[in-house]
Structure formats: C-alpha cells, structure tokens
C-alpha cells in the first residue's frame, strides 16, 4: 500500500493554469516554424520534400540524443528512423498551437525510447500501437506555442555552467554523482547548479519573480 507523508509528498501551492503561461512571448524561432510547416504539409499532402527536410534536421539529432542517453549506436539509429516514420504517420496529430516541431519530435523519440526499454524488460506487457483517441503528444493541452519560445529564450539566458548541468541531468539523465565526476566539480556544486537552473528556468518561463 502507498502513503504520503507531509515530508514526502508536498502540498503544492495552486497556480492558475492561465497565469503560469501568461507572459507575452517572443516569436518561435523561424527554423522551428519551417519545421512545423513541413509537418503540416505532410499531414495535408503527404509532402515528401517536407519530410526530407525534417529527416535531415531531426534524424541525426534524435540519434545523438538517444546515444547520449545510453542507447547503442545501432539501436539509436533504428529508433531515429522509427521516430521519423512516426512523424510521417502521425503528422495529423501535430498541433502547432500546442507545441513546437522540436518538442513534438522529442516526445515521440522519448516515448519510443521508453517503449524500447520496456520491451526488453517485459515483452508481453505492451499491447503495441493502439488507435489514437486524441492527439497524445506532447502531453499537455495547456502548453502554448509562445511558452515554447519562452523556454528557448529562458535556456539561452541561463549561465553556461547551469545550462550544462541541466543538459546532463535532464536531457541525458545522468546521475548527479556522474556529472560531478565528469565535470570534476563537487557533488554539492552539481546539486546547487541544477537547483539554480531549475528555479531560474521556472522564473523566466512562468514570469514569476
């Protein structure tokens, strides 16, 4: 049975869903706009030129992402191709009002990575592809296009050292102890940099002070 202790599951101060993303945002990067248009063109016309452009940008990056999170190059290659195939097949589910192209592709690659790991552990548990009942990726209907641009801006504003530990701990999911060894800095410094990066990011994205 499960439980909660005050110390473990904290009581979160409610934030208003609208308020959190209210800050007016700079325009999304134009490269990402181009990628969004490619996905929409695939949904509408099965546009192969658009697909080629998406493939050349995202496939090598998805492969790099998967390798950094510990996949062998051959699996990373296979999942990167599978990610692009999903982009083609699921293009109708892409909603540019909800997510940037890069975020959408990231969530597809991440989900494939999770399923690949789970298949290794328990091949029988997943029922495989099920019919989409609603656009499932990315997760939240509350994510707004402009918040994505805000996140990009916020990341740019982080000091390089905070950005680096955030990339290692979030994007590459490396344990803090491993980051400390890799960067040759004390564990406490890693923890405080991650904490600072997260709170700065939140402040910039949510417009909190």
């Amino acid at each position: 049975m499960g439980q909660a202790a005050g110390a473990i599951s904290r009581w979160r101060t409610p934030r208003s869903a609208a308020g959190a993303w209210r800050v007016s945002a700079p325009e999304a990067s134009s490269a990402d706009d181009v990628h969004s248009k490619c996905i929409i063109a695939i949904a509408r016309d099965r546009d192969r030129d658009g697909f080629a452009a998406l493939f050349s940008h995202f496939a090598p990056r998805v492969k790099a992402y998967l390798m950094r999170t510990g996949s062998a190059p051959s699996l990373a290659e296979e999942l990167a191709q599978e990610t692009m195939l999903s982009v083609w097949r699921k293009a109708e589910l892409f909603d540019p009002a909800r997510a940037s192209a890069a975020t959408w592709v990231f969530t597809i690659a991440r989900n494939l990575r999770i399923d690949a790991a789970r298949r290794v552990r328990d091949p029988a548990s997943l029922a495989g592809e099920i019919e989409p009942e609603a656009p499932e990726e990315p997760f939240a209907a509350v994510a707004r296009r402009q918040s994505q641009a805000l996140i990009r801006e916020a990341l740019k504003q982080l000091p390089a050292e905070q950005r680096e530990v955030l990339a290692l701990s979030f994007f590459e999911d490396r344990p803090h102890s491993e980051i400390a060894t890799k960067l040759k800095i004390p564990l406490g410094t890693v923890k405080s940099r991650v904490r600072l990066a997260v709170s700065k990011l939140r402040e910039l994205v949510e417009g909190r002070t």
Binding site: M1, G2, Q3, A4, I8, S9, R10, W11, A17, S29, D32, R48, F51, F55, S56, A59, P60, R61, K63, A64, T69, E77, A80, Q81, L85, W88, R89, A99, S100, A102, T103, V105, F106, T107, R110, I114, R121, D122, L126, A127, E129, I130, E131, P132, E133, P138, F139, A140, A141, V142, A143, Q148, I151, L155, F170, F171, D173, V198, L201, V205
Partner: protein, 208 residues
C-alpha cells in the same frame, strides 16, 4: 476534484525526460490524466527537451538511412490495434496495457496486475479494497508510488482522495485504512515488496 498530493518536481522532470524506471511512469501518467498543474510542469520540461534536441550536435546517420525510411513510408502502417482495455473506470493512460483479471488476495481486497518486470523487481497493479478495510502496518522494501483511482483512505500521515499521488520510500511505515463510505481503488507501482509485521502482514508480503 481537488488534488492535494502531487509527484515531486524531480519526479515530473524525470517523467518528461523518459528516465523513470519500470513501473513508475505508469503511476505518474495516471496522475497526469487527472492533474492539469502537473501536466503543465511536464509540458515545460518537454519544451526544454525540444529546445535541447534542436541544438544537440547531430550524430551521423548510416548512408542508406534516408532511403530505407523513404521505402518504409510506402509500406502500409500496421493497423492500430484496439486498446486492450477500454474500461472508463480506469485512468485513460492505462488503456494501452493489458490489465489482468481481478483476483482476491485477502478478505475484502482484490488485485489486478498491470505490468511486471521480467526480473521481478518492478511491478504495477491495481488494488480494490472494501469500505472500512484496515491493512496491516507495513513498510517498503523499495520505492512505492500510489495513485488513488477511486474512493479514499487514510493513514497516520493524511487522508487521500481520487487524483492524489504519494511516494513512499524504504523505512516508511504506515497503516492504511479505507474510508467507510465506499470502496477504494489504488494504482500501485513499486520496486521491492512491502515489509509487513504480524501474520496478516505475511499475506501482503506473499501476494504483493
């Protein structure tokens, strides 16, 4: 529905990055079905993931990667299967799992398996308990996450209702008590077994 207990910010971050082990993302996904605040938090991290993906140094694809993918585009996509369980009583995020049949594991308490790691260390399952049921006091051999699907229960630390999410680590003892006014359905994801005291505890230990 007012949700009072949420996953920690760190758990949400790890969920968004895809790093959560075995059964835990099943429990978090169920909570996200119900909680807009946590969905927002996950969306923020997914945005971070997208921005970082855009800027990562690309790896080299094999030479025929694009040609092979293009060839695959023309193949018919495998027909999407029907979701294996369409019960509207369960969180929508569970639809993609083959949820097992319900079986009793003690007086007034029933279990349905959702997922189990092959090596046996991680599992996710549903528990349905009758109103007023009191479970033996127990701790945990590893981390355990609980999501309240239906009904409610209390322990020494608080009262929990639908949508609430709790994390318990090793050494965390408690004695859950199901509310009198209805059945309680919980989604539990755990690493390690519950460690219970007393004879009733042996039952839990054996079955869970």
């Amino acid at each position: 529905m007012t949700i009072h207990h949420h996953p920690s910010e760190e758990l949400l971050m790890r969920f968004a990055s895809g790093a959560l082990e075995g059964p835990f993302d099943i429990a978090i996904a169920a909570h996200l079905d119900a909680c807009v605040l946590c969905r927002e938090e996950v969306a923020m991290w997914e945005g971070v993931g997208g921005a970082m993906l855009d800027e990562i140094a690309p790896a080299e694809m094999t030479q025929d990667a694009f040609a092979r993918t293009l060839a695959a585009l023309d193949r018919t996509a495998p027909a999407p299967r029907r979701a294996p369980n369409r019960s509207s009583a369960l969180p929508a995020s569970l639809r993609r799992y083959r949820v097992g049949r319900e079986f009793p594991i003690g007086p007034g308490i029933y279990k349905r398996n959702i997922w189990k790691a092959k090596n046996g260390t991680g599992r996710a399952f549903l528990l349905r308990a009758r109103p007023g049921l009191e479970l033996p006091r127990h701790g945990h051999g590893g981390t355990e996450m609980t999501y309240v699907v239906q009904g409610g229960y209390s322990d020494e630390h608080g009262h929990y209702e639908p949508g609430d999410f709790m994390t318990a680590d090793t050494d965390h003892l408690h004695q859950p008590h199901v509310d009198q006014d209805g059945e309680c359905v919980l989604l539990i994801a755990s690493h390690g077994r519950p460690i219970a005291s007393g004879i009733a505890g042996l039952i839990m230990r054996f079955f869970m």
